[in-house]
């Protein structure tokens, strides 16, 4: 880590991004780290914008796209035992594997979890996009708060879209079932059950205890990158949260500030008009600030957050790849030492060797794909943020300029604007 000198100016505002204490409220494991509820989005307009933007981009990216998925319409579903949200998943496709060209099903969060774990199981070294987190962050009582549901819906939508453009994952049988089956529960019961998954984990742990003999250079580099990336993306996420916090506090003070001008106007005659003018300007800038905060929360924060989760996914993928190699190496060693059952063992070793190669290739292939995707997503989010900030300042500029205009329109006693610059 570079040891940059901290300028005196910055002291107190420089976050110690290595210390976990700073992360205490901003834990990675919560969906919205900030203690306050998400700001209400102006109905569906912003969401609409984001959806359209994503769809456009995806259409541009893969002109040969033949599968489109969307997640919307969250509805509360009440049973005797529990209450949960069902989302509508709409699929439009021209793929021949599908019986029809359009599907509409209802899915709950657990269904998405099932899908993802199946995908990971079948493709242990592919990078499967993360899901939004399961639990609500500490402090939030209302599990089905509107903003929370909306955030989750957007993330689920993004998840399915990531899968649908993946050259391998989008052809997964589980994915097809998820998108088309009227009722998912029966399908969920099939496949390797909980116990067998447990067995795998135990084997993996046992193998990892043995340790990896030699990791191929490129995967070592990859691991280093993953660790560094994880650090950096968490830091960026943290900084962004902090900025939102500071902006909110700034906004609070602005709201106290503008009334002091209008109150003063009450006791003045000539001055009343310009004072009210300034009060109105400050107020309008406050509204712009509010919008800007909202944009940050709705665009940059979710994007960064997803990649924080991605970093964890990457770490898991690296571990799984390592385990596959370890398993092979273990059997291979056994083969070298034992005399008995060499043929049978040889077959096993061959299978495992193939597995290693498959796993490595899959990861290599997916790696650059993922990097590109990350670059595109984050670039878009940062761009959007920068554009919004420019727009924010442009709006505020217009507000103050119109005030100036109103003041200079009066027969002015003096050239106010000239000397002041």
């Amino acid at each position: 880590m570079s040891g940059q000198t901290v300028h005196a100016d910055f002291s107190g505002h420089m976050l110690d991004l290595d210390e976990d204490e700073d992360l205490e409220v901003f834990s990675k494991n919560t969906s919205l780290a900030d203690g306050s509820p998400m700001p209400n989005s102006p109905s569906s307009m912003v969401n609409q914008y984001r959806l359209e933007e994503e769809e456009e981009q995806e259409q541009q990216d893969a002109n040969a796209r033949d599968l489109f998925v969307s997640v919307d319409n969250p509805e509360s579903h009440v049973t005797a035992i529990e209450t949960f949200i069902m989302y509508r998943v709409v699929t439009k496709t021209t793929r021949s594997e599908f019986d029809s060209s359009e599907f509409e099903v209802r899915r709950r969060y657990q269904d998405f979890l099932w899908l993802r774990s199946r995908l990971e199981e079948n493709h242990p070294t592919l990078i499967v996009h993360p899901l939004p987190e399961k639990f609500v962050m500490k402090g939030m009582v209302e599990r089905f708060n509107d903003d929370f549901i909306e955030t989750r819906r957007k993330a689920l939508h993004r998840f399915l879209n990531k899968i649908s453009v993946h050259p391998i994952l989008s052809y997964s049988q589980h994915f097809k079932v998820f998108l088309t089956a009227e009722e998912l529960m029966s399908h969920r019961k099939q496949g390797p059950g909980f116990l067998s998954r447990m067995g795998e984990t135990v084997r993996a742990v046992a193998n990892s205890v043995r340790g990896l003999r030699s990791r191929p250079e490129e995967f070592t580099l990859m691991q280093e990158y993953v660790d560094d990336f994880s650090n950096k993306i968490c830091s960026v996420d943290k900084v962004t949260q902090r900025i939102i916090k500071e902006q909110r506090e700034y906004l609070d003070e602005l709201k106290q500030y503008s009334p002091t001008y209008s109150q003063w106007a009450g006791s003045e005659e000539e001055l009343a008009e310009p004072l009210r003018g300034v009060a109105s300007c400050v107020e309008r800038c406050g509204l712009e600030t509010e919008e800007q905060i909202q944009h940050l929360s709705e665009v940059l924060v979710p994007a960064l957050h997803e990649y924080v989760l991605c970093a964890e996914t990457l770490k898991a993928v690296m571990r799984r790849r390592d385990n596959i190699q370890v398993e092979f190496e273990a059997k291979n060693e056994a083969l070298a030492s034992r005399r008995v059952d060499q043929e049978a063992l040889q077959d096993e070793v061959d299978v495992l060797a193939d597995r290693v190669e498959l796993a490595n290739n899959a990861l290599k292939g997916d790696w650059s794909r993922w990097q590109n995707s990350m670059r595109t997503d984050l670039k878009s989010a940062f761009l959007s943020t920068a554009e919004k900030n420019v727009e924010y300042y442009e709006q505020c500029l217009a507000v103050w300029e119109s005030f100036l205009l109103s003041q200079r329109a009066e027969p002015s006693e003096q050239n106010a604007g000239e000397d002041a610059s």
Binding site: Y250, F403, A416
Partner: protein, 435 residues
């Protein structure tokens, strides 16, 4: 900036001279050429500030700041000659002394205020230290502003003590004390008592007094809120500096994204750094408001003086009436109202004629004195009202003008800040495009 201030005040001077001349030239005891105040004859500025050490009143070592006052005859300046200015050093306490003298000597004038003694309405980054160079610089400007306001005032600018202050470095203090102004100062208690007990103060003055309370309260609330906003804004900008740091570190591990991230990071650093100058400039706006916060006090002082003179007049009149009554009682023997003498007369019998005569004589003398006193007080009160009213109008006009300009200035600052923001984020956007 000093230039602007001066020009501005000369302009002010122009207008107020005309209005003042109409109403007050007859009242000015000092010889005033119409439209000729000190600032027109003399170029004044507070050029520098320096630290000095010395022993104070209790013989302890202390550090203080002195300010260099430079003066030049105006005709030399306008003729294009460039003579070296006369100069002398003064410290803040001497300015205070001058102002106190003016306050006592011209109680009908809204005396311009000095810049604050200690830094108030400080937001966290701003230093509250009197020795801080930024504070000293702002104080220098404030002191210059004070001198220019005084020197352009139709009444104050002719004061001899002011002239001394500007031209005689040594012995000035002694000359001020010799005027005995301190003895003329109204005691706080007298003033306060007058405020409560006065019966018929001039309505306009009461309104002005109420207005001065409002002005003070509103400006101080505004200043406090502004300081808090400044504090928060500072936080927002500075946190962006963290982006600079992280982007830079992150760019090291990325291939394609690296350059874009790195340069975006630099712009974030620049953005974070830009707030310092922005807020420094805003302090000047705060100073303009503070001047009127302190002016409110001066305005209130003039109103209070009215209450005092009015009260003393009422007291003197009351006293005269009661003495006349006593005289009447003694002379005619008729007791109109309850009086102690009446009581004792009833109880102990009337006094001897000789004594009565003596007392009647005394009373007549006292009545004569009392009538003189009432005449005096009436003149005092009326003169104060007339002169003060003129000056309060003058004050109102320059207040409206100055504050309106301050608000316009503020808008200009905001616009400048927005322009910087647009540029910074446009630059950042270009960098992100390169990612």
């Amino acid at each position: 900036m000093a230039e602007d201030g001066r020009d501005e005040l000369v302009a002010t001077d122009d207008e107020s001279d005309h209005t003042a001349a109409d109403g007050s030239s007859s009242l000015n005891n000092t010889v005033v050429e119409e439209g000729s105040t000190l600032v027109r004859r003399m170029e004044i500025c507070v050029a520098e500030a320096e630290k000095r050490s010395g022993k104070n009143a209790v013989n302890m070592q202390e550090t203080f700041t002195v300010y260099l006052i430079e003066t030049r005859p105006m005709d030399a300046v306008t003729e294009g000659r460039n003579p070296a200015p006369d100069s002398l050093w003064r410290r803040y306490s001497e300015f205070e002394l001058l102002r106190n003298y003016l306050l006592v000597t011209y109680p009908y004038i809204v005396v311009p205020p000095l810049p604050e003694k200690r830094a108030e309405f400080v937001w966290h980054k701003l230093s509250a230290d009197n020795m801080d160079p930024d504070f000293v610089e702002r104080r220098r400007i404030g002191l210059e502003n004070f001198l220019l306001r005084v020197a352009s005032h139709p009444v104050l600018s002719n004061d001899k003590i002011l002239h001394h202050f500007l031209t005689e470095e040594h012995g000035w203090k002694e000359v001020v004390y010799e005027t005995g102004f301190q003895a003329k100062a109204d005691s706080r208690i007298r003033a306060l008592s007058a405020t409560f007990r006065v019966r018929n103060p001039d309505k306009r003055f009461m309104e002005m007094k109420h207005y001065s309370d409002q002005l003070q309260s509103h400006t101080s609330q505004l200043l406090r809120a502004r300081a808090r906003v400044a504090d928060r804004l500072y936080g927002v900008y500075k946190v962006h500096g963290n982006y600079g740091r992280v982007f830079s570190e992150w760019s090291a591990i990325e291939k394609e994204m690296g350059d874009g991230l790195q340069s975006a990071g630099h712009h974030m650093d620049a953005y974070a750094a830009s707030i310092d100058d922005i807020l420094e400039e805003e302090e000047h706006y705060a100073d303009q408001l503070k001047e009127y916060l302190f002016y409110a006090e001066a305005l209130r002082a003039v109103c209070r003086k009215h209450e005092l003179t009015q009260f003393e007049l009422e007291m003197a009149s009351q006293d005269l009436i009661s003495k006349k009554q006593q005289h009447e009682e003694l002379a005619t023997g008729i007791v109109r109202t309850f009086s102690f003498k009446g009581m004792t007369n009833k109880l102990f019998g009337q006094e001897a004629p000789v004594q009565r005569e003596a007392r009647i004589k005394l009373l007549e003398e006292l009545i004569a004195e009392g009538e003189d006193t009432v005449k005096e007080k009436t003149v005092e009160c009326e003169e104060h009202v007339e002169r003060a009213w003129v000056d309060m109008q003058r004050f109102k006009e320059h207040k409206d003008k100055d504050l309106r300009e301050a608000l316009i200035n503020y808008a200009v600052m905001q616009i400048s800040m927005c322009k910087k923001g647009i540029q910074m984020w446009s630059n950042a956007k270009e960098c992100f495009l390169k990612m």
